[in-house]
Amino acid sequence: MSLLRAQGLRRRYGRRLVVDVDALEVGRGEVLAVLGPNGAGKSTLFRLLLLVEAADEGRIFLDGREVRPGDREARRRLAGVFQRPYLFTGTVTDNVEYGLRARGLKRREREARVAELLALLGIESLARAPVNELSGGEAQRVALARALAPMPELLLFDEPTANLDVTVRRRFREDLARTIRTQANAAILITHDPADAFALADRIAVMEEGRIVQTGTPEEIVLRPATPFVAAVTGAELLGGGRVVACEGERVMVAMEIARGAGPRLAGIAPDGAALPPGTPVTVAYRPEEIALALPDEVEAGACNRVPLRVAALVPAGGMVRIRLEGDVSLTALVARHAVEVLGLEPGREVVARLEASALRVFPAR
């Protein structure tokens, strides 16, 4: 049985339907990520599931029992870390033991639990520190310790790493991965960052305009996105529109449409269960890291799709380089700096972009 299950959950602000979730559940021992862009209704869903805001319609079940925001016993089985956690006036210890005081635990029990958590998160030296002296990363750890302290069965996080800079974010993500599985039965992670979802979650629910549009394992979401939106939210780029010329099982041949008429023919993969007879208008997406580049005279046989293009621009992206390629279609490739040097890539250089059919996702056009 699932630990928490939401059914037909709707929340309106004025006339706007902000949350419209037919079904969502998290099982014991599971970490579920709700992934979506800003404004998708994720934070509202977070507050509804945390039972601190009432839904207009729908039901939430905890261990099979229907629960509501006024249900204090149910709320005490949950704990939440807000996107901008507010640390209350006082010391780190005052904050971490807040939920324990609310549950009436004795001083000795509180002290033991606080010491355990501060040690677990490597902030035991900050026990007596006033919270206004903490850095962003330390404050986030204190907020995590505070949520973990009452040993909630379900932990909910709203954008836990959004306010941290890149280096702190990576470390904090590791802390999260280590602690949520040992300290709570299950967790729901609300995030716009696919890196959080892929690093921490067993299952991902992708949210678009208040609705859950696809739920699956991280692999399923990346390899079998149900819609171009899901593909985009997990890091894919849209290649453009085209029409199906042939379809065999999940493998689809698409003629890309370009301004001057017929574009290149590319082989791709259709989503599960999609019927794409010849002539169907489609949208094609790809992941920039799955594009391999070669010089025109060095193309080996075997690659499924080969598209001759010209380098338009190179933009450094950390250890990688994003390369904008123009031609009959436009593509962005993400390649290692080393490859750029070996191939001598520079604006104007002719190259061939190689993509396996499995790297191209074909969706029926909306």
Partner: protein, 245 residues
């Protein structure tokens, strides 16, 4: 200038001698104004919290009414309390007119709008996420509200200070409902008025200086209590995503 120097000397003498009359007036002033502030807090703070955090029809009118209370003329308050407590008034049977209790009631009514208005602004200035965060950690609605008020305590302290300031220097209302009876309802401000009328300017100025010194001492104590920890800064680094050091 000579008058002022003489007044300072007189003030020093009054303070040095600690005449029973002066001590009696100062103690009564503190007792009346202190009780009035406490009563003003009991009336004003719940109103400030309810209006500051509540959402109800007519809320803006309620806020405007509270703010209008800042401009309440003490003599008007004194007049209303006088009418209520006078022999023919609705509460005349209690025989409270010309007693310290009547003065406390009048001053509490003057302090309450300040306490309510500044408390209202203080609790509104705290992010609403504080109560949500408290509830998300299992706090009862009452504990969540208490947590919210703790975060607003800098402003709530200012409300108490403003309430005290409104009453300690007030003369119109206490004169009307207290009557300035020696040994019973005479406080520092009414004594200053009396001494001025008698032409005893030096004593009046001396009492004025004592009043200012006491007001300063009380405000200093309240300010120390208020500024002990500055909640406005708490968690600021987390809220602003300050990078780790």
């Amino acid at each position: 200038m000579e008058l002022f120097t003489q007044a300072l000397r007189e003030a020093a003498r009054l303070l040095f001698d600690l005449s029973p009359e002066l001590v009696d007036i100062v103690v009564r002033s503190l007792r009346v104004s202190g009780s009035a502030v406490l009563l003003g807090i009991l009336i004003g703070m719940p109103i400030g919290v309810a209006v500051g955090l509540g959402r109800f029809p007519g809320r803006q009118i309620a806020v405007a009414l509270i703010h209008t209370g800042f401009a309440l003329p003490p003599v008007v308050v004194g007049l209303f309390v006088y009418m209520f407590l006078s022999r023919s008034g609705p509460l005349g049977s209690l025989e409270l007119l010309f007693t310290p209790t009547a003065m406390i009631i009048a001053q509490a009514l003057l302090a309450a709008p300040y306490v309510a208005g500044i408390t209202l602004a203080a609790v509104q200035a705290v992010p609403p996420d504080v109560r949500l965060q408290a509830r998300a950690l299992g706090a009862s609605p009452l504990r969540a509200l208490w947590t919210h008020m703790r975060e607003a305590r800098l402003g709530i302290g200012a409300a108490v200070i403003a309430g005290f300031g409104a009453v300690i220097s007030e003369v119109g209302a206490v004169m009307m409902v207290g009557g300035n009876i020696l040994g019973e309802t005479r406080v520092m401000t009414t004594a200053i008025v009396l001494e001025t009328r008698r032409g005893n300017f030096a004593v009046a100025i001396a009492l004025g200086l004592v009043l200012l010194a006491i007001a300063f001492a009380v405000n200093l104590a309240l300010t120390r209590l208020q500024q002990g920890r500055r909640p406005g800064e708490v968690g600021g680094s987390a809220r602003e995503g300050k990078p780790a050091r």
